[in-house]
């Protein structure tokens, strides 16, 4: 079970969180023309990376904040965690 450092609450076990997928996906702006392909990529296409992955988790049984977690999908090592509005350098 992963041990995730919630930037708001500290170290918490994985069972307090729910997974939210790739954190690098940007939703197209509202009211903007979006091509079929662009929309398709946004809704459906995700890379299944092996290695470092920036992903979203929600601290659902805690502070309910969505956070970003930099995790290795092969080793499950967690490198860094960020608040939702924090820039990932």
């Amino acid at each position: 079970m992963l041990y995730i450092n919630c930037p708001h609450c500290g170290m918490r076990s994985q069972n307090e969180f729910s997974y939210g997928g790739d954190a690098s996906v940007k939703r197209p702006e509202l009211n903007k023309e979006v091509s079929d392909q662009e929309w398709d990529s946004f809704v459906y296409n995700r890379k299944s990376l092996r290695g470092k992955h920036l992903e979203l988790w929600q601290h659902i049984s805690g502070c309910r904040q969505w956070i970003k977690v930099e995790r290795d999908t092969a080793t499950h090592e967690i490198f860094r965690t960020f608040k939702a509005d924090e820039e990932v350098a």
């Binding site: 079970m1 041990y3 939703r27 197209p28 509202l30 929309w39 809704v43 929600q58 499950h76 509005d85």
Partner: protein
């Protein structure tokens, strides 16, 4: 019965307390502190089971967790448990056990014919034979294999025992209480670290219980007892016996199974049977020791052949002789330790050592005691069927290929030592890449992956002095990092005998003209010849060889067989062992009861149960409940002998003619507050929200980004910047997360807060033509007329002194209201509604009537919003704004979503107006068409229309828009029904929606 093989004195059992127990129906005596295995051996019982494949007789091979043979069916306190290792099961008064895998009895086993057919049962036999004909698999092969194979039988009864889960955190977790574990624990504890020390056996001390060593001028055993006693007094230390750490998971999470009650005749009141510990440790010290490995020779599975360390343990811990004429077969000094113990108890062993000229202190001691030692000698084959009677032995050449003349010597047990295999399971599970250590012919942990360190025998270090030194140091260093304390501890003096190098020899060659089975894996009957076949047939990867031959599988997971299997593969393949590699070590290290894993989450505890504040009223009024997600909701209120159908029809009818009340507390409720609240709603719902005035409600549909309907509900503007959103019962949590996602990540600029208020409000839906009359009496000071509170209006009112929210919304299609009060007043509200409603013939109605009412009105719910439909499919396209953007809008342009013949909701009526259509039935054009009959749609919900008194269903039908009036068939192969039906409008009752506005 006498315990003929129990020595006069010695051992750690309590000789003052005799225990009687039954094995295969026969009564025996043992002592407190025995295992089932030691007690049986004390009584001279060696035959305990039959082997898995060939049904060969099985005895005892080990004395603990590594035991491959002595697996029994245990009976305790009216319960039974399969696959219990007799070597681990502690004896208690009244224990009962039976052999497994034999019929009719262990002494006369029909399946043993497989032993003579074994030439026909080589590796991969099942894969090759039971392939065809295909139809034979279910009818013949599988039932046969199931009957013939397998170990114990699981109970089919409900398990009355209780199992607990526990979460724990510590600085240092130590797996194993041998010298390494004790030293590490002691040093860390002295530095103030929070320590958990786990030992799988009942007694602490590990190898110190059986080895002849001195630590700090005490015997190893006394030293261990002293350390444990001191650790137990320290508040920062948890010491647990009968506790097996069986899994090492991510981020230093380890799981331990504590056998709280298995050693007792019955579980004490308020105690669990087992306790599963989830332990998050900052550091882990793996001191799991090592397991002796066998040497492979002919008929080496005969009862009486066992590990020499096990023979020593039975003698030193339990005071039991495993034989009176022991033969010790060894390739290292450990065998001599066992021989010396025998000799000390007046038994004359013969030692066969495969080495030519070994010299060490231990060997000298054996020689001085006058033990008969034969160098360059091996056991070629054990003789005897149900018990070893003699052994064929021979000298062996230096290259270990040539056997000398075969001699036969009498013996009643053969104690084997093929050197030691470090127990590296936990380190490997942690992700540690193991490495092969030439000097010990075994794998040891390599570079640590997580915060784990492996020390002592588990790390391939067999010198006590070195083990203690490294472990004390590690305990200090690891704890110093955490607690910043640095209390120096003097490392005690150690007296131990030095050993000489073991012989890299593991398998005795077959003598000319003999074809003895030489077993590698004793639990699965995998012999040398089976692995040879697998390799001949082209299996190369050790993982494939394992699966083809079953080497290293089953309940012992190859604890005694893996390395010898690897040796064989490497020899045939002409590779070095590390190039062959080992199979992956996966948790659990040893079998864990399913009950322990499940814990208390069984039956109604498998999920939380949520009840509305009016629950007790429902109970008192004969409500029959149904699970709605985690909620319990009244399905109907039973009157007299009514069944579900009759009751729900009565309740629904009463709503249509008088007035009914339904508990709608379970609906999800979310408070949406902030200056941008309207903007948020405008983005998440498909329809427009910017112009909704205060005190008005609106129905809304929200989509996922892929255009599929996510949820629906009404949202009411309570005040300028405050909205009250309702969701379906099932989606409440998902909708909240959905809103939080967009607010926190996508549109953080929106100034809105959302919070769940589901539990803050109790809700009652009042529906029916007389609902306004009732409402007026409930709120005499409010103007609830059609003008004062129009359809989709909202007001606050005073319900006999309690503040209430009144919404004029309807799910039933009737004139209806929803009244909300704070949860604490829910019951009060409900009782008042029932009391005042009596003159209007009010009746409570449950979810079944609720469904009937919504289905015949054509209102969609979860069965239509099933994660596969878009607004058009549900006839909700009128709610999809063309002017503004919203979540999922772009997806609605997908070609499949705008196809001319897109599926759509319709009503379905059986032509005979009698036959109810099962939900899930498929709609087809031709009921006689050949399979697969093309499906045009499916029945999503069915009811008995109280308005028309005939069955009515909703369906999602291809090109539903143009299908009204068509005749189709509803087919339900599950219910074996074919029903001719007519397609009608989904709005079966009041299609213009006049009632709700009346």
């Amino acid at each position: 019965m006498t315990q003929a093989f129990r020595i006069e004195n010695g051992g750690l059992v309590n000789r003052d307390k005799k225990l009687s127990f039954k094995f295969n129906g026969k009564t025996y005596l043992g002592y407190e502190g025995d295992t089932l295995a030691s007690a049986l051996l004390a009584n001279g019982v060696h035959l305990v089971g039959r082997s898995f494949k060939y049904h060969r007789p099985r005895g005892f091979f080990g004395a603990g967790v590594d035991e491959p043979y002595a697996v029994v069916q245990l009976y305790r306190n009216g319960e039974t448990e399969p696959n219990i290792k007799a070597t681990e099961q502690e004896l208690f008064e009244g224990l009962e056990a039976k052999s497994v895998n034999c019929w009719p009895s262990v002494n006369f086993d029909i399946g043993a014919i497989n032993n003579f057919l074994r030439i026909f049962l080589p590796a991969g036999f099942y894969y090759k034979t039971f392939m065809w004909p295909k139809s034979f698999w279910y009818r013949i092969y599988e039932p046969f294999i199931r009957k013939a194979a397998g170990l114990g039988v699981a109970s089919t009864k409900h398990d009355k025992e209780r199992y607990e889960h526990k979460y724990e955190y510590c600085d240092l977790l130590i797996a194993g209480s041998g010298p390494s574990g004790l030293a590490g624990a002691y040093a860390a504890a002295k530095n103030g670290a929070k320590v958990i020390l786990a030992e799988d056996k009942p007694r602490f001390g590990g190898s110190l219980l059986t080895s002849d060593v001195n630590i700090g001028n005490q015997s190893g055993k006394d030293w261990a007892e002293g350390i444990i006693a001191e650790l137990k007094t320290m508040p920062n230390v948890v010491v647990k016996n009968r506790s097996q750490i069986f899994g090492y998971y991510d981020h230093n999470m380890l799981v331990m199974s504590e056998k709280v009650s298995d050693h007792l005749p019955s579980t004490k009141k308020y105690h669990p049977n087992k306790r599963l510990w989830y332990i998050r440790a900052k550091e882990v010290l793996i001191s799991s020791g090592s397991i002796e490995r066998p040497i492979v020779f002919g008929n080496n599975d005969t009862p009486g052949v066992m590990l020499s360390s096990a023979a020593k343990e039975y003698l030193k811990v339990y005071g039991v002789l495993v034989g009176r004429k022991p033969l010790v077969f060894t390739n290292n000094d450990s065998g001599y330790e066992t021989a010396i113990e025998f000799k000390k108890h007046g038994v004359d062993p013969v030692v066969l050592d495969s080495r030519k000229n070994p010299e060490s202190e231990i060997i000298d001691e054996a020689k001085n005691l006058g033990i008969n030692i034969k160098n360059s000698y091996v056991v070629v084959a054990a003789q005897g069927y149900k018990k070893v009677k003699s052994a064929d032995i021979a000298s062996i050449s230096e290259d270990k290929k040539q056997l000398g003349k075969i001699e036969n010597i009498q013996c009643d047990c053969i104690c084997v030592s093929g050197f030691w295999t470090p127990t590296i399971h936990l380190a490997s599970q942690s992700g540690n890449k193991t490495k092969f250590k030439e000097e010990i012919d075994a794998f040891v942990p390599g570079q640590s992956k997580q915060n784990e360190i492996t020390l002592g025998a588990a790390n391939g270090v067999f010198s006590l002095e070195e083990t203690l030194k490294t472990s004390f140091t590690a305990g200090s260093e690891l704890s110093k990092k955490i607690t910043k304390n640095d209390n120096k501890i003097a490392i005690p003096n150690v007296v131990e005998k030095k050993s000489s190098q073991h012989d890299k020899f593991w398998c005795v060659p077959l003598p000319k003209g003999k074809n003895y089975k030489r077993f590698l894996d004793f639990q699965n009957d995998v012999a040398v010849s089976d692995v040879e076949i697998a390799l001949r047939e082209g299996y190369r990867s050790i993982e494939h060889v394992k699966r083809y031959t079953t080497l290293g599988m089953a309940t012992d997971q190859g604890k005694t067989s893996n390395l010898n299997g690897l040796q064989l593969v490497s020899e045939i393949e002409n590779k070095v062992v590390p190039a062959v590699g080992h199979t992956t070590f996966r948790p659990p290290y040893t079998p864990v009861s399913i009950g322990a894993i499940v814990g208390r989450e069984v039956g109604k505890h498998s999920k939380p149960t949520r009840k509305s504040p009016m629950h007790s009223w429902h109970e008192k009024n004969n409500a029959v409940f149904v699970d709605a997600g985690v909620w319990l909701r009244p399905r109907y209120y039973k009157r007299g002998n009514e069944n579900l159908f009759e009751a729900s029809k009565r309740e629904a009818k009463n709503v249509r003619t008088n007035v009914g009340v339904c508990d709608v507390t379970t609906l999800g409720k979310i408070d949406v507050k902030g200056p941008d609240a309207a903007e948020l709603l405008n983005r998440v719902y498909t329809n427009g929200w910017l112009k909704l005035p205060v005190a008005k409600a609106r129905y809304g549909v929200m989509l996922r980004e892929d255009g599929i309907v996510m949820d629906d509900g009404t949202t009411t503007r309570i005040s300028e910047n405050h909205y009250h959103m309702t969701t379906t019962t099932a989606q409440a949590a998902n909708v909240l997360s959905h809103l939080e996602y967009y607010l926190q990540l996508v549109w953080p600029e929106l100034n809105v807060n959302v919070v769940s208020t589901t539990e803050q409000w109790a809700g009652a839906a009042i529906a029916g033509p007389k609902s306004r009359d009732l409402l007026q009496k409930l709120f005499p000071n409010s103007d609830v007329s059609n003008e004062g509170l129009p359809f989709m209006g909202y007001m606050e009112g005073d319900l006999f002194g309690v503040k209430a929210r009144i919404f004029r919304i309807s799910f039933s299609g009737e004139l209806a209201y929803e009244v909300n009060v704070k949860s604490d007043y829910g019951n009060f509200m409900w009782e008042k509604i029932m009391e005042v409603g009596e003159e209007f013939k009010i009746q409570p109605y449950g979810t079944e009537a609720l469904s009937t009412l919504r289905i015949e009105m054509g209102h969609v719910a979860g069965s239509e919003l099933d994660g596969r439909t878009i607004p058009f499919d549900n006839a909700l396209e009128g709610l999809v704004s063309k002017k503004k953007d919203f979540i999922g809008k772009r997806s609605l342009q997908r070609s499949a979503f705008i196809a001319e013949d897109r599926q759509r909701i319709v009503g379905v009526v059986p032509l005979d107006k009698q036959t109810s259509i099962p939900e899930g039935s498929h709609l087809v054009k031709d009921d006689k068409a050949s399979l697969p009959n093309p499906k045009l749609g499916h029945i999503s919900a069915s009811c008995w229309s109280v308005e028309y008194d005939n069955p009515f269903s909703l369906a999602i039908l291809k090109d539903g828009k143009n299908m009204i009036g068509q005749k189709l068939f509803a087919m339900s192969p599950l219910k074996n029904k074919v029903i001719p039906v007519e397609i009608v409008s989904s709005h079966y009752v009041d299609p213009k929606g006049e009632r709700v506005r009346s």
